[in-house]
Amino acid sequence: MVIVRKSEGFGRARRRGQDSTLQPSTIVDPATVHVAFEYLTCATFWLLVGTAAGLLDAIKLNWPDVLAVPWLSFGRVRPVHTNTVFWGWSSMGLVGLALYVVARTSRATLWSPTLSRVSLGLWNVAAAAGLVTLSVGVTRGPQEYREWVWPVAVMFAAGLILNGVNAYMTVAARKIPEVYISNWYILGAFCFLTILFTTGYIPFYQHGLGNVVIQGYYMHTAVGMWFTMLSLGISYYAIPQILGRPIYSYALGVLGFWTNILFYTLIGAHHFIFSPVPWWLQTTAILFSVGMMVPVWAGGCNLLLTFRGTSAVLQRSFAAPFLLAGIVAYILVSTQGTLEAFRTANLYWHFTNFTVGHSHLSMYGFVTFVIWGAAYGLLPRLTGSEPNTILVGIHFWLAIVGYIIYVISISIAGSLQGLSWVAGEAFIRSVEAAEPMWLWRTAGGVLMAVSHLVFAVNVWAMRPGRALAPTPAPPAAETVT
């Protein structure tokens, strides 16, 4: 169900340049708008921090003696980078947008803006505490994305559950009978992360090899059942809104939702192929990795087909290209993931930098681009403040060129490492082979980092400027398609 409000200009791509007629939204509760904006602002802060950490580590691979102090050591900065962009940037950015989507598609106000602010506070404290603890070496060791020690993780989980309750109660108070498909993904995501986060931290089944099984499950489903779910949920709202047309197929969205739950959950063990993890578990993971093609192509093509015949909008909208790029990356990265799971491909690419390229294609090319597209597409309509369109263009091109350079160079680096190992060369040869590619990766990373600074400027420009007055009753002309 897509709600299109013609009177608000939804569905009409605005021309490039400032739109003098743009007003703050008169139909959305100001508190909801403020909450969404506060989440995006904090997210942007963590994006800059996480980017700095990532860039520093990239530089250190070429110049290992740069900034050789304990808290900036490669091994400490790496989890700072991953956790900051996961739990700081991506989670806050996605949830800020999701809370707005939940309220809007339910035709309701956010159940409790206060609760969301409390959650945001908890998440900010967790992200800051995580950064400090990891930097001083207080860590659970290299267990990816669950390096944060207990107290930090509990703070994050508390914020997660409060936000989940808030989203659920908002949908429960909806003014229309249907639960829009976005809310399936968003409410699902809150359930799934709660379960997988708890599973990752409870120790009773994690002695010895048990820990490895949980690690595979945890790091894989964190991406698939939280970031992917939220990104798709937001896409199912933002893309039709920005393009002014309904989603290509509602039913494919539903199919994608259930198959994503079934297949994604079962494939974590494909991170430990050829390991002592039971063979049946590895084979199940490989089989269902192939099954992943169902939700990916159903969901990805569904969103892609929604773009069909909208080249005029794409030329004029500054939000749509981000979303299109995000969806294309989603299809590419998931297909790549399936291929990597095969034992033969795994033999060449496992343990190499190819994995780093894969994770950036997903968390950056897909998730981050969706956040940007949705933020640019939705925020100005809510706050009445638009960013400078030239700056948005600069952001887009720096980010996309930067990350394409990044992903291609690091994937080549990974392939060269794999080939060197298979050829039986001395290990250091694989380091030497990768080194020039690491330099290219850093170059791409610099472009990405600059684009993030531009994004920060643009977020500030989209702040709720004029007082958001509670609304007079909106005029008619509301179509539900």
């Binding site: 691979l61 070429n62 290992p64 050789a68 050591s73 490669f74 091994g75 400490r76 790496r78 989890p79 070496g137 860590t139 060791g141 290299p142 949908v171 429960a172 009978p177 639960v179 809310n183 399936w184 409410l187 699902g188 359930c191 799934f192 379960i195 599973t199 089944y205 994690q206 010895g208 090899l209 048990g210 820990n211 490895v212 099984v213 949980i214 690690q215 499950y217 945890y218 739950i261 079934l262 959950t265 079962l266 974590g268 063990a269 991170h271 430990f272 002592p276 039971p278 578990l281 033999l347 343990f351 190499t352 930098n353 780093v356 490492q417 298979v422 039986g424 290990f427 250091i428 380091v431």
Partner: protein
């Protein structure tokens, strides 16, 4: 009542489906293999090596060094294939996902010299010029003279700040080396 109109049914079903799958694919398999016993005759780590392992975790060494040898020709240089028993007393085990540096499951057999390891930790490029590993100079101390009992590291003069000064390992460095030298795959019983 359908999922399209009942948020309660939708969220409840999604929650419990995911929980059930989690139990089936992660918790039950993990619980069933977590108590695989250690290889008979494997020597437990010393207290010092255990301290070294804590430093290994703290410094994030496991992000670049695996401890997971696959039964594949390209993994032969690192030792025999890792078996479940190898992780028996590891908390957490450190199989790793990336090999920016070589696997360390059996590094003590490949590189048994404590002097080499100390030098390598102080500055990896002192022993492997092309290495990109970070050095850990903060676990060492430069002194005018070594005191009795000090572990002196034979650092090449070009890497010492002033002529005649000596580099001495702090307890953290010796602990880390003790841990690395404990990484020796026990033989599998026949």
């Amino acid at each position: 009542m359908t999922f399209h109109t009942s948020h309660r049914a939708l969220v409840g079903f999604a929650f419990f489906t995911y929980l059930a799958l989690t139990v089936l694919i992660a918790i039950v398999p993990a619980a069933s293999i977590q108590h695989t016993p250690a290889i008979p005759g494997a020597t437990p780590r010393s207290a010092v090596a255990e301290q070294g392992r804590a430093i290994y975790l703290r410094e994030g060494c496991g992000f670049c060094h695996t401890q997971f040898v696959r039964d594949l020709p390209l993994d032969r240089p690192y030792g025999r294939a890792t078996v479940a028993q190898d992780y028996a007393n590891e908390n957490p085990p450190l199989p790793g996902t990336e090999r920016t540096g070589p696997d360390l499951s059996n590094v003590a057999a490949r590189q048994p010299s404590d002097t080499w390891h100390l030098l390598h930790l102080y500055n990896p490029r002192a022993v492997v010029p092309q290495s990109v590993m970070p050095g850990f100079p903060w676990y060492f101390e430069e002194k005018a003279d070594a005191a009795p009992g000090d572990v002196v590291v034979p650092v090449p003069p070009r890497l010492v700040s002033a002529k005649g000064r000596v580099v001495v390992a702090r307890p953290e460095a010796t602990a880390l080396v003790a841990y690395l030298l404990s990484l020796r795959q026990p033989e599998l019983p026949r």
